[in-house]
């Protein structure tokens, strides 16, 4: 490593000499010649030394035999080669014939676990999830209250047909193939905007998985308006080219919906109930998206309808430009290369958020650059100077109106609709920033009711309204819940574990870019700023929960005391009757007056 860095700065000539491994080796073949080569790289010098030592050793017969046999195989036999079993040499030209572009689709075919298709059970869930995410995003962007129908039809024990239909705006005909049958195609990757999808991989990856396991094409129905015709597509993905291959493309004169999209994917999978099941996911999605109505038909059993808990649309999210504090050097270089602005100053002002003319001047002054210079002509060093100047300048936090939290009231009403409990609470923290990216944490809690009292609390992790199912232990949310001392709030909690009690925690992170630990979007990365906001949110809800639990305990104690009073006051009556020879009426009067007096003294 150490030897590598300075070489970069050397001239291309010397670099090429070092880059190819062959020339120094051939030089090293002759011991004396190597010694004369004074400017040879340090590494090769060391090799020469070692080799010269070995030469002095007398060769055993066995070694000699090996060497001679090696000569037969190797096209370029070398007496100084110390490793006898070196593989046959292949020329760079030969290698070049094997080198070619790797298609994204091919890459993900092999690495499908990165996208959440690691096992049949999870694949089924991921497929549903990607389709539902897309539907919800589409409805929201179009300002439509989503009505989504999900059905899973069993074809064989390990084969299902997933159908997800929404009342969204529909997709224009030309876009359909690309959206559903080309990986990394989408509108969301290039903008910083809060949405469920981010990379443009999801639904096409699901389609690809289906194709991979069943050979069946992905089927799409879409219609963009009442007066427009509906289209029906069936497509394969050409994994080699990462391009759609339309099998069927027909225009339908009528369709069930005025506008909307329906996706059907046939795939190999396993359906199971319980934790991390599709059922769970749908229910959690309903909680996280209280403005949506979801109809769900599981492979077994009846259709379940999750009616919307609110008719209020989520706040419209808007795309923001990157904040200078979050940008990395490479990204900065690229942005300045590609900017439409003619001057550096205007590039800074228009391509970033929160850079005013004054701030731009300040950055330029610190970097020692002129505002008029052409941004595309800046050298790497100059850009780095800007990069170093940015943290030294005070810049306003990024705008947070790009975020659309679910909202305290809506979370509470969603929880009320789905979970039977005695206590509901939700907190929406004010927006915060990690790495220059705005985010917002929301924490909801439901406590008591029919939830099991002796089990660990349920944590519903949600990122941009998408419930997360897998990798709970790797997630910043789980870490924060465990890290909160719930004993302060009247709950039991073992060391390093979730709290115990009839508790459901709903934790939502909204951000224009949720930092997941992997492309399968299962766990949120542990950014200190995010952990801090999570902690504060959990504590805030925890305090309210604690107050509730204490109040409940007090009430229980009061009820117990009341029972206690009612148990022993008659005994006082009996004793007084015995001693004072009271009549039964006198006794009962004493008892009732005393009961009344004592009950009044308690605040029940």
């Amino acid at each position: 490593m150490g030897g590598h860095k300075p070489k970069r700065k050397e001239s291309p000539k010397s670099r090429s000499g070092d880059g190819s491994s062959r020339p120094p080796r051939s030089e090293a073949r002759s011991n004396r010649a190597a010694k004369k080569k004074a400017p040879a790289a340090k590494r090769s010098l060391r090799v020469v030394k070692g080799e010269s030592k070995q030469i002095e050793l007398p060769l055993t017969a066995k070694e000699r035999r090996k060497r001679s046999s090696l000569k037969l195989v190797s096209p370029q036999p070398s007496s100084t080669e110390s490793v006898p079993k070196s593989p046959p040499r292949v020329s760079a030209e030969t290698l070049a014939t094997r080198q070619r572009e790797i298609s994204v689709s091919e890459f993900f075919t092999r690495n499908r676990h990165l996208l959440g298709f690691d096992n049949p059970q999870k694949s089924l869930l991921t497929t549903v999830k990607e389709a539902v995410d897309n539907s919800l995003d589409a409805c929201e962007e179009a300002g439509i209250l989503p009505e989504i129908a999900v059905s899973i039809h069993t074809l064989a024990e390990d084969r299902f047909r997933v159908a997800v239909q929404d009342n969204g705006p529909g997709i224009v005909r030309a876009q359909v193939p690309k959206i559903f049958a080309k990986l990394l195609y989408g509108s969301k990757f290039h903008t910083l905007k809060q949405s469920r999808g981010q990379q443009g991989i999801g639904i096409s990856a699901a389609a690809m998985y289906g194709q991979l396991t069943t050979g069946k094409p992905v089927c799409i129905w879409s219609r963009t308006g009442k007066s427009k015709p509906a289209h029906h597509y069936e497509m394969h993905i050409d994994t080699r080219r990462n391009a759609p291959e339309v099998v069927k493309d027909e225009t339908l004169s009528s369709w069930t919906l005025d506008h909307g999209t329906r996706v059907e994917i046939e795939l190999a999978g396993i359906y199971k109930r319980g934790r991390r099941s599709v059922d769970d996911y749908i229910e959690q999605t309903a909680i996280a998206n209280p403005h949506a109505t979801i109809r769900y038909t599981p492979p077994t059993g009846e259709e379940v309808i999750y009616e919307r808990a609110t008719r209020q649309h989520p706040r419209e999210t808007i795309a923001i430009k990157p904040h200078p504090h979050g940008v990395e050097l490479g990204a900065l270089i690229k942005m300045l290369k590609e900017t439409d602005s003619r001057s550096l100053k205007s590039a800074l002002q228009t391509d970033f958020s929160r850079i005013s003319s004054k701030v731009a001047d300040e950055i330029l002054k610190k970097a020692g650059l002129k505002g008029e210079s052409r941004p595309s002509r800046l050298s790497r060093e100059e850009v780095e100077r800007i990069y170093r100047a940015i943290p030294a300048v005070k810049i306003m936090a990024p705008p947070t109106n790009c975020l659309a939290p679910i909202g305290e009231e809506t979370i509470v009403s969603a929880l009320k609709k789905r979970i039977e409990a005695d206590f509901y609470e939700a907190i929406t923290r004010s927006p915060s920033v990690y790495r220059g990216i705005p985010f917002q944490v929301e924490v909801g809690a439901a406590y008591g009711g029919s939830m099991p009292a002796e089990e660990l609390a349920d944590v519903l992790r949600v990122a941009n309204r998408v419930p997360l199912q897998y990798q709970a232990s790797a997630c910043a949310i789980t870490k924060s819940v465990i890290g909160t001392d719930w004993r302060n709030y009247g709950l039991q909690q073992s060391r390093g574990a979730l709290p115990t009690g009839p508790l459901l925690l709903f934790v939502h992170i909204a951000s224009v870019w949720v930092p997941f630990t992997s492309e399968s979007k299962e766990a949120i990365a542990h950014y200190p700023e995010i952990l801090r906001e999570l902690r504060l949110g959990l504590q805030e809800v925890g305090r309210k929960l604690g107050a509730h639990i204490r109040r409940r305990r007090r009430q229980a104690a009061e009820t117990k005391k009341l029972a206690y009073i009612q148990k022993y006051i008659p005994q006082i009556g009996i004793a007084l009757q015995d001693i004072l020879a009271l009549t039964d009426r006198e006794r009962d009067k004493t008892v009732s007056v005393l009961t009344d007096t004592l009950e009044r003294s308690r605040k029940i």
Partner: protein, 383 residues
């Protein structure tokens, strides 16, 4: 005592008892009435008890026993006290029933009686004992003893032998039993648990209260009481309430002194002798009845250990602690310089000696030499 005299005595006792019972009944119903009236006026009723702890105890030379102080504990009827309050009232009601039926109950009896009280019943005897102690303390403020409430201790009293005739009247029949304590052969008269109704006739010069049954046995079988013209009482460790009351009554009625003969160790001095003379610290509310203020300490004294060259054992840690506690906290010893000196002396010697250590000089040395010699110098007894 002649028959007519006895009859008159029995009648007198009966009258006195009845008077006392009437007084007790009045106190019980008075307390109940006050409680009931307060309840009807929507005022939370309360019961007052003297605080029972050493901090509320003082030694009065005039009265001669540890007196309970003026600190009072008020138990107001609230949600938390409602159970004990009910139990206290029911216990008082039981006392009333016992007086009216001229019966009695031991602590254990009362505990079993409470099993009829439904919810107010006691789970453990310790609970009923506490309630009983509370009532006893409450009524001790009106000079009413537990025996008068008809709650008698389970513990049996000590043994008595010597120049004493005890008259024990049967309240029902009016017959009076005459008990001659010289006529028990090698046995002895056993003090009953309630002694209030007894009366005495004696020509003895003093009462000798003895710590151990063994020593009592030796003096009794050699009829020491005859030789010394005295009454022997075996305390068997710390004297029970009945034993204390018996000795008190006896010494007051016969106007004779009481001499204590106990082991020379902190337990013998500060527990046995102190309790006999001035009563106990944690039940000070009853001390006015259950103590013998005119008792004096015959021996074994720390000085005796030297004078009689008695075999000794080293003081244990608990002994030293007890001795220091007596010097530091006990109002009785603190008021007696002779005792302060003696106890300090004992601690300095670091040893203790038992009564029976005198057997070193011969088994009967105690009655032939030690006691006669001691009794010649009663003025040198410790207070």
């Amino acid at each position: 005592m002649k028959a007519t005299q006895a009859k008159r005595y029995a009648a007198e006792v009966k009258r006195k008892n009845r008077q006392q019972d009437q007084n007790t009944l009045k106190l019980i119903s008075g307390t109940a009435e006050e409680t009931n009236q307060k309840i009807l006026k929507r005022i939370k009723p309360d019961l007052k008890f003297p605080v029972r702890s050493l901090s509320n105890v003082s030694y009065s030379k005039r009265s001669g026993y540890l007196e309970i102080g003026k600190q009072k504990k008020v138990r107001t009827l609230t949600v938390t006290t409602v159970k004990t309050f009910a139990q206290t009232l029911r216990m008082m009601s039981l006392s009333k029933d016992l007086i009216e039926s001229n019966d009695f109950a031991t602590k254990r009896d009362a505990y079993y009686q409470s099993k009829n009280w439904g919810d107010a019943g006691f789970q453990e005897q310790t609970e009923s004992d506490t309630v009983m102690d509370d009532i006893e303390a409450m009524f001790s403020m009106y000079q009413v003893s537990r025996e008068q409430l008809r709650f008698i201790p389970d513990e049996h009293g000590g043994a008595v032998a010597g120049q004493l005739i005890v008259y024990d009247p049967d309240i029902e029949t009016g017959e009076v039993e005459r008990i001659d304590c010289t006529r028990f052969g090698s046995g002895a008269y056993s003090i009953p648990s309630s002694v209030e109704h007894l009366s005495f006739e004696t020509k003895a010069k003093f009462v000798l209260a003895i710590e151990t049954g063994g020593m009592f046995q030796r003096l009794q079988s050699h009829k020491f009481w005859q030789k010394a013209n005295c009454i022997l009482v075996s305390m068997g460790g710390v004297p029970t309430r009945a034993t204390r009351r018996f000795i008190r009554k006896l010494s007051e009625e016969a106007k004779i002194p009481v001499y204590a003969f106990v082991d020379c160790d902190p337990y013998g001095i500060s527990n046995i002798y102190r309790t006999l003379k001035v009563g106990s610290g944690n039940a000070a509310h009853i001390n006015q009845f259950f103590c013998v203020p005119n008792a004096r300490y015959l021996g074994v004294t720390p000085q005796d250990i030297r004078d009689y060259k008695l075999p000794t054992h080293p003081l244990k840690e608990v002994d030293i602690k007890r001795a220091k506690d007596a010097l530091k906290n006990d109002p009785f010893f603190q008021s007696q310089p002779a005792w302060t000196q003696a106890i300090t002396h004992l601690v300095k010697m670091g040893v203790r000696a038992e009564q029976q250590a005198l057997a070193k000089w011969g088994l009967n040395y105690v009655l032939e030499e030690y006691l006669p010699r001691k009794l010649k110098q009663t003025d040198r007894f410790l207070p």
